[in-house]
């Protein structure tokens, strides 16, 4: 292929078109409201990757990716898990409780709360499985309904039994040092959460494509009757997938809590909206699991960069939301146009 042809390919390729389209519209919005794009864009990039901000972007990437797996894994089995917030909070508060209440030797002091958090998240999620397979209540409804009480419960626990005395907000006391996630390098915010979630993502991708369980999960998601007919125990597989998703959410909660500022602060897990960012990322990846980390990275980049844009270029936070909203819509549209083209 000649060089111009290659260039043409690249320019016409979907991601480039998506980004270009999103940039164009965003620039238009900026111009309309009187923000100088020449200041805003560099600030966006700086806010996300330069000046030491990459640390935060990566730090935010970790729970978002965790939550993306929490949604993506059950989705492979055909179950919509929209209850990420509840699973996240349950995982976080459980991890905090274990770290605070159980005296543990170093090492176990980190590992056990993480496991406990994952288990708690899994338990919250798995409730939806029998409701779906036995009672026909779709997981998309039940997970959403279970989420709110789970968040309330976590909030109650940190407000009363686990609360730090004499402080203004509902939060647990700081967790013992032994329970702090080991930091990566000299960073204050990068912890072993990153390699852990990266490894788990790789594991999931591997399991999804190349293991018996992954195959059975996908078969269940593609055609439940087919899987049942084939001898797959679909009720169990669906429950497993939901539990696995919940465990990812719970683990994300635990990772947040065991990372700086090393405590459960009421509302801090749900306020950033990881759950729906993750849902959007997974849906953007449109059923191709390998793409999920990339779409998560894109949305995290936008969110963290947006804060930088706000700080440095004086772009108000509201505008940041507008821009993000537009970009998500545009990317969604371009994703379908791309999917349609080969036809």
């Amino acid at each position: 292929m000649s060089a111009p042809a290659v260039a043409h390919r690249v320019v016409a390729s979907a991601p480039v078109v998506a980004v270009a389209g999103a940039l164009l519209l965003t620039t238009l919005v900026m111009l309309v409201v009187g923000v100088d794009p020449a200041l805003a864009y560099p600030a966006l990039v700086r806010g996300a990757v330069l000046d030491g901000n990459l640390e935060y972007t990566v730090a935010a990437f970790v729970p978002t990716l965790g939550m993306a797996l929490a949604f993506a894994l059950p989705l492979r089995a055909g179950e919509f898990n929209l209850g990420g917030d509840g699973q996240l909070a349950a995982g976080g508060v459980t991890a905090a409780a274990v770290a605070l209440l159980v005296p543990l030797p170093p090492g176990a002091a980190v590992v056990l709360p993480l496991i406990a958090g994952a288990v708690a998240g899994g338990l919250v999620a798995v409730v939806a499985a029998p409701l779906s397979t036995r009672l026909g209540i779709p997981a998309i409804v039940s997970t959403l309904l279970i989420s709110a009480p789970a968040v309330s419960l976590a909030s109650y626990l940190v407000r009363f039994p686990l609360a730090e005395p004499n402080t203004g907000i509902a939060q647990t006391p700081p967790l013992p040092d032994a329970a702090h996630l080991p930091a990566l390098g000299g960073s204050g915010y990068l912890t072993i959460g990153l390699p852990l979630i990266a490894a788990l993502t790789a594991l999931w991708l591997y399991a999804d494509g190349r293991t018996v369980l992954g195959y059975e999960i996908r078969a269940t998601g593609q055609n439940r009757e087919f899987a049942r007919y084939g001898g797959v125990r679909v009720g169990r597989v669906a429950a497993l997938a939901l539990a696995g998703g919940g465990a990812f959410a719970g683990l994300s909660g635990a990772l947040i809590v065991l990372g700086p500022p090393h405590r459960f602060v009421d509302g801090a897990l749900t306020a950033p909206g990881y759950t729906f960012t993750a849902v959007a990322a997974v849906l953007l990846a449109s059923a191709r699991p390998v793409v999920v980390p990339l779409t998560v990275a894109l949305l995290t980049f936008l969110q963290v960069g947006g804060q930088g844009m706000e700080r440095e270029a004086g772009v108000p936070s509201q505008l940041t939301q507008i821009v993000q909203g537009l970009i998500i819509v545009i990317v969604a549209v371009l994703a379908t146009l791309r999917a349609r083209r080969p036809r």
């Binding site: 190349r210 018996v212 195959y215 996908r218 593609q222 055609n223 009757e225 084939g230």
Partner: protein, 493 residues
Amino acid sequence: MYAAELVGVTKRFGPVLANDGIDLAVARGEVHAVVGENGAGKSTLMSILYGLHRPDAGEVRRDGHRVVLRSPTDAIRHGLGMVHQRFRLFPGLTVAENIVIGAEPVRKGRLDRAAANEAVAALSERYGLRADPSALVGGLPVGVRQRVEILRALYRHAEVLILDEPTAVLTPGETERLFEVLRTVAATGVSILLVTHKLSEVLAVGDRVTVLRQGRVTGRFTTSETDADELVNAMIGRSLTPPVRRRAHAPAGDPLLEVRDLTVRDADGVARLSEVSFTVRPGEIVGLAGVAGSGQRELIDSVTGLRGAVPEVLLTGTPVKAGRDPRVAYVPEDRHGRATAPAMSVAENVLMGAQRDLASRWALPRAKVRARARDLVDRFSISAASVDVPIGALSGGNAQKAVLARELTRPSTVVVAEEPTQGVDVGVRERVHDLLRAARDEGAAVLLQSSELSELRDLADRILVLYEGRVVAEFPGDATEKELGRAMTGATG
């Protein structure tokens, strides 16, 4: 002048030339059959006539005038109607609503239910297509659903009615009734295009036949002047070898499948099966006949383990295991609903059931999965672009061969086949029958459920007739269709 004509129609799907310069003309009041192998291009051609596909070349004419059909709406406006093989009905609407939709009677701005019901009642009366106008379609048997589709087309004043494999899902009785209807309808001047794989039907109801093969017309016949052999020759380029009823050895040994006094009740306590008992021995094919809904589904689900552990069902002497008993190979009737996951690849579809055997610990190497699939594709001569294409993209016959390939290569001793040749062409049908016979000859016990009596007679050593959940009769394999038909309607004696 012809009621409808396709002139020089060509249609490509990527590399596949589905239709290649096809000419087809239907006269007024004629029943015109279209036959051909799976993938010959029949559905594509009909879809073009109904505005679902645009032809790459060629044109459509109605009453001699060229028409451009951009959508079914255009086709309907030009007096075309179509009954799809996979029904296009709204399960949550009533029969009448399904029929009048798109051209509803309205009074004072409101939907005129009464008028709709009346119109539908009148129409069913006129063509002898009985259906309760106020029943919800979702709960109706397939035969009735099909009538609803036909009524819909007639209600919209279709002058050319296209039916794509209408009999594939019907019982012999229903098929007979459908043919009567088609004759009645044709007598009123409506032209009928009938896509089918069953040559007996073509000869029974068609006036003329067009044969397609690999996207081209390979024969045009007047039915009164042709016979099955000639049609088969045009379809597959050779004659069928006459069925061999010869068996390797007579059934002997302990039964591999034994059902003792099986009664199955639904949640309301109504018995769907009552005291059913039978055995199938190694090297034996037992046929299962009966009108739809006589308990076949419950029986087969019990035998395969899909209804859970049923102590009354014994496989090689021990009760069937819950879930899916690995001792049973099972070819289900519902190709897209149960037998395959249409969006998954051919390789992953033929993997089902063998995934644990192929795995080393939990790992399921893709190379192994593909290699096994390629092997099956070769051995069962399945035509697929690659083992990585979704199985839903295969033609019906090839998908069916893939299902058989998967099931018959299981290490199982009992084979349950449910409508194994539904919707497949004569060539594939022959191949499927060969495979079932081969399984029998290797000592498997085969339970064959089919609504096609000729199929049962071709294959089975014994035929059990189910009626209202009971085995009401048992015949030898060479029983006449008349005998079987009588038993199926519950006539004793």
